[in-house]
Amino acid sequence: MSDEPFRRVLVPIANEADARVTGKAVADRFDDSTLIPIYVVEKAGGAPDAAGVEQREEFAETLFKIFEAVIDESTLIVEPTVGYGIDVAATILEVADDERADAIVFVPRSESRWRQLLTGDVARKLINRTDRPVLILPGDRDE
């Protein structure tokens, strides 16, 4: 990939399609790396969450299974993790730090403008605030 290979790669995933597309994209482009798929359970910071914590942890587990199933590559190690935070982008960056990730890799999802407005566009925030390489991979257009 580069002179300094990305050994530990943090891969944020948000839903099933994302897990599939991103999983394929990283499997095609990395060898000998540890992939750390992360799902962030968005917290309300003192109000009841939109969905229960356990429910989203189960959801995360489903995503990780899909991710692992797509990555059928013996040289890659997959270490799923779950993050919790009010701000999704900030949580991803914190976990990247904790996990000593060399890079954060994602496949952009097409999001409508108003949706980005509502949710604060995680991708943009990630890029603006990052303290380590962020790699944006094209997904498979057919998905």
Binding site: N15, D18, G46, P48, A50, G52, E54, E57, F64
Partner: protein
Amino acid sequence: MSDEELAKDLGLIPAMTIGIGTMIGAGIFVLPGEAAQGTGPIVVISFLVGGLIAMVNALSVSELGTAMPKAGGAYYYVNRALGPLFGSISGLGDWLGLAFASAFYTIGFGRYLGELVELPSILFLSNVQVGAIVAGAVFVGVNYIGAKETGGVQTIIVSILLAILGIFTIAGWFAFDWGTVSGSGGYTPFGTAELLPATGLVFVSFLGYAKIATVGEEMKNPGRNLPIAIVGSVAIVTVLYGILVTIMLGVVPWPDLDLEAPVAQATEVAFPGNYAGAAAVIMALGALLATASSANASILASARINFAMGRDKIVNDWLNEIHPRFATPYRSIIVTGGLILVFVILMGGDVKVLAEAASVLHLIVYALMNAALIVFRETEHPDYDPDFTVPLYPIVPILGFVLSLGLIYFMDTTSQILAVVFIVGAVLWYVLYARYRTPIQGVLGEYVRDRSEEMPDIAVSAAEAASPDATAPYNVMVPVSNPRTEDELVALGCTMANQKGGVVHAVHVVQVPDQTSLDYVADQIERIDDESDQLFENARAVAAEYDVDIETHTVVSHRSLEEVVDSAERLNADTVVMGWSPSRPWTSGRTGGALDELTTNLPCDFLVFKDRGFDPSRVLVPTAGGPDSDLSAEAAKALRDVHGADVSILHVVDEDTDRAKGTAFLGTWADDHGLGNATLLVETDGNVEGAIERAANDHTMVVLGATRKGLLSRLVGGSLVFDVVDEVDCSVLLAERPAKRSLRERLFGRPGVEASTETEEGEPKMESGT
């Protein structure tokens, strides 16, 4: 901070505001007019009695909530304790009760909205119903997209509400007149008999506190904060209702109290002329905030209950899919929203019906919940360890049970009929749907069944009848592929199944090379079917001899061993019985880490048979204690009970001086594992393998517990460590009991209540067989 702490970000004050915010909407803003006109001034006492009943139940919720801070609240406790029949009643009751309550809240919202703006009436719908439908749709929409409500907002809303009500209290105090309260006919114009029916009506005002328990999993320090928030919020609103309703009755004579928007009316009277209009508007806005907050919290709580029920398969988990973009349980929210709108449309004309329907269903749930608490305590369930305990046990839960059901007795006939219809419906739901799906068995059922000797027959048969079908079978899976060894394996599987009254699943795993596409194989399915049929016919014949039920499955896969593990998981197998030979092509497919992970995380017990003939007449069990040899003991016991095998147990110690200790250990071990009449053998040369080989000469089968390192992974890796398997002349049955850790547990490191019953046995001091 650990992840677990990060997941719990609900502090005491926000938790309490959930309770207060949910409760404050209805009682004060909607019902005083309705309740007072049927009861007279003693309606204040009705509110206080409602608060008292709520408080008794709040104590019970607190205890259960600190023992099990899980999503689902009351449903979860009842299902665990009383089993899925009552679980279905409480889950559906809580859910529908919330939908009725939400419909009631949105009607309240519609009424106060009508005070502020002109609402049209459409078709047969009144203007209030139109306002309620719009409001309901907005609440559902907000929850659907999960628009972010932060703790700050919730606290601010409740603070504003308390401030508005505080100002009203002060202004009302000056306009207050005891003469107005007693008015015409004194305090009890309709007699005291109306007191409790009115309590039934206004009880809907106290439903919010239990919602705190449904979000218990998100609370910081739930052991302390949950009881304080629940009991505290009930105490606060009870006092508040007492004061506010008294003041209202002292400001406006009760026969004149407005049915639609009593608080706005009282405000207008209480404030001096030139402020009256503005004050009434502010009060109406406060009422909108309050009813919206109640409805919103109820919709959120419904989704948690749906999730908990879906996980236990009482309802279809389809309901609980998470939205791919919004990360909300959107289907559950839509279905609940649909119910709310239906209730508003059909019953919104009479707010009393909605209020009583919500009350009556919750009262049923609360009664069951108190029973659940008593069951947990009386059965001394090992997982039940509440941080908060109700005072004066068992008086408080018994009181909660009696008061909850007792209040139903005083309610409208319509509500009582609804309660009966609902219970019949919920029981039918369980009998026709949930019974076949849910794997949960309640603590009570287990307790009665475990003591079937001491318990009266009627209790045992009732427990059997009410227990779910899905838990009944003990599933033994036998992968069959080789007609030569098949019979022995099926016989072993039947032996295990026979002893535990279980079912054998014969699974034919058709392995095809990686290069062959599974689609291609599907075309060849006829040929495979013939092969399967042959295998299954033999299997059925064996099963018939053992009088064991058998089911057959054919699976086509690239990877045979992984398929075995997957199938075991799919079939919910308790034990897998499989054959082993060194030439088995187990290593095809992927190697290394993934396989290691697979085989060290077995989904169930594995018995691997090295076949040198199936002769269970003299069985040798070497043991050093530990979880794997528990499984060897079970297998040996099955062989003894089904085939009359003579069982010997072998233990090896290092020194001759340890012989007595070894014998003592074996005696205890044999008794503990139901092998009291076995022959005890103690060897003292410290050479385990040698001892087993020597002893095996006198036996026809050796049952060997694997070490904790992972039997299957060693077999698969080709580095068979159990030299002893090759050295002895008789058949060997290798037993491995998994360290039960699912992906979920690896990730989150906190097994559920059920899983935590697995005691972490200490590592055996000496491994058998190595």
